[in-house]
Amino acid sequence: MKFRSYDTKNGNECETEIISANPDTIELFVQTWVPDYVVRILREPENSYSLFPWDKIIKKSELSDENLQSFCAVTDGRVDGLLCLRNKDEYFKVEYIGTAPWNYGKNGKMRRIGTGLIYFTISQSLSLKHNGTFKLNALSDAEPFYHNIGMVKTGILNPEGLKEFYMNKKKAKSYMRKFEKFLINENNSQAFGRN
């Protein structure tokens, strides 16, 4: 899938593509996300950003059964976002989702990476017969984002105390309609189950 993201530093739109994560993704995560995260926290330690161990997440999704798969959002060879999805008969779930450290906050570099990954999730959910629905457990700082895109709290907490959010069919359709103007193509060659 390709969509138009926005570079706030250069003031122009870019093409971002969502593809399956691979060993190169792990290398880029370690060599770009990790150093950038460290510098940002050193400069602003009051920020509560945390970094998921995406190298482990991607490796686990490669080694596990087909229920888990990782994807990356790439702009000009740069990994701007990461996503890990789980497909079960009963549900479709975002296990992990993240934007690169340089995209954090109001002054972040790239816009629409998170929303693009959500669109991709909905489109995968549709193709896997989940009608566009999915759920996730939100870090507390991310709750407003999920609320704003139309997800609702189910009242369920996971063992870590993180609240579960759910995107229903109607909200998923509405979300897709709003995001479609940024879509370039929905090529499904990188869809769940295929590499």
Binding site: Q31, V38, L42, R43
Partner: protein, 149 residues
């Protein structure tokens, strides 16, 4: 910017470690950096400065800076505020990362008590009496600078 300094075997620990809430900065450095001092090299590269430029500003030779960046030894505590100032990063956090203060000081809010007790939580090598006096003067100077900012 791709900085090829994290040439370390990646952590093999259980998947769940850090995967629930994410990793904090101290764990990230422990897991992904060759050693803690590599943070200095990272900051230098991020600020697009050469070793010669940083060495001059910090008051060491280029060779000494190379040893600092790539070595395992604890950096002289007197240099840490200079690095923090030069790279515009948080001094307390840098002191913790470089082994001169315990992580507990990061939990304290910015108050007079916590600033002065920073010296009491020093966890570096054994100090001489003169070094202890110098250290207390140094921290008082830091606190005064913070007040001015």
């Amino acid at each position: 910017m791709v900085i090829r300094l994290l040439d370390k075997k990646l952590p093999e620990g259980p998947f769940e470690a850090g995967a629930k809430y994410g990793l904090d900065i101290l764990t990230v450095i422990k897991d992904y950096f060759k050693n803690d001092n590599n943070v200095i090299k990272l900051l230098r590269i991020y600020n697009k400065l050469s070793r010669a430029q940083v060495a001059e500003k910090i008051g060491v030779s280029r060779q000494q800076l190379a040893i600092i960046e790539d070595g395992d030894s604890v950096i002289d505590y007197k240099l840490v505020p200079r690095f923090a100032n030069l790279f515009n990063v948080d001094l307390k956090l840098l002191l913790v990362i470089l082994g001169h203060a315990k992580p507990e000081i990061l939990q304290n809010k910015e108050d007079e008590h916590s600033k002065f007790t920073m010296a009491a939580r020093y966890s570096g090598p054994e100090l001489t009496d003169q070094e202890k006096v110098d250290l207390e003067k140094l921290f008082k100077m830091i606190v005064e600078n913070m007040k001015e900012r």
